[in-house]
Amino acid sequence: MKKKVILLSVAIIALIAPSSVFGMHISEGFLSPAWAIAWYAISTPFVVYGLFTIKKSVAQDSRAKLYMGIAGGYVFVLSAIKLPSVAGSCSHLTGTGLGTVLFGSGAMAIIGLIVLLFQALLLAHGGISTLGANVFSMAIAGPIVAYAVFYGCKKMKLPLPVAIFMAAFWGDLFTYVVTSGQLGLAYPDSSGGVYVSFLKFASMFAITQLPLAVLEGFITVYTYKLIQKVEKV
């Protein structure tokens, strides 16, 4: 099993690395100062709450740290892999679903913040001025929706893999819905206003992101099963 994982990882790195990478985060400077500050203000309480939840769960369970490491690594990998999608477009996954089903949405704000900061500073992807907005879409709104879907599926007594798939799928998709909303708010259409502008961005992202969200769902279920297997040793 372990060998398989390593082999798969190496194959992914070797084959995907040479192709150029694009993604979905809002680029540096593309939000006006007012919006940039607003999204920082909205994201901050969630990040602070995330710090508290991490502290609490680590104190309660020694394995929480290990889960967070795994989920962090997972986000690092998935959010860097660019995948081509329909109509010649391409985008990447978010990877926040796994951590959400492992330990809830709170801590994902911190993990997402670390990944986005890394990408903004070292990879010229996203940006510092747009960090607040990007953290909100990928590390706060996405995981909260993923958690709600996961919880709902569990309430409906759906099988666990289905619940995980749905959580990762909707978490990924909702991240893009929020990004579209943020861009729509910042750039209202001259005739139709915020809503028309939002629809323009959302339809552009949706075509690309739907197949990728399905893929993210499958990968998350697979990874969760891998962790479950270790747990049962």
């Binding site: 798969l8 084959l15 690395a17 809002i26 499958f218």
Partner: protein, 96 residues
């Protein structure tokens, strides 16, 4: 057996990615498309801040992302190993 086919399918999907890239010739990512759409909605807009952080050339970009993937895989593997170890220690204690 069924399970294995399922895993193989995912692996194949992932490994075949670069071939899709060549098939579809993805010109621009959604990021770039978003910027195009922005400029069509508001032609007078220009980014108001200069990028802080590392300036990387376009050809170096894929390798920086590969670096991120590598870091991710290493972090994932280390914690996965620790979890496995932690589990087996706990099991040994139970057996004793």
């Amino acid at each position: 057996m069924k399970k294995r086919t399922y895993y193989m399918l995912i692996a194949m999907l992932l490994i075949s990615c670069p071939f899709w890239v060549q098939l579809f010739h993805p010109g621009a990512g959604t990021d770039d498309k978003a910027i195009d759409l922005l400029t069509s909605i508001n032609p007078s807009y220009h980014p108001w801040v200069k990028r802080i952080g590392l300036e990387i050339s376009e050809s170096a970009e894929p390798y920086m992302f590969a670096l991120q993937i590598t870091i991710g895989v290493i972090v994932f593997a280390i914690f996965f190993y620790l979890l496995k170890k932690n589990r087996s220690i706990n099991n040994q204690q139970v057996e004793k």
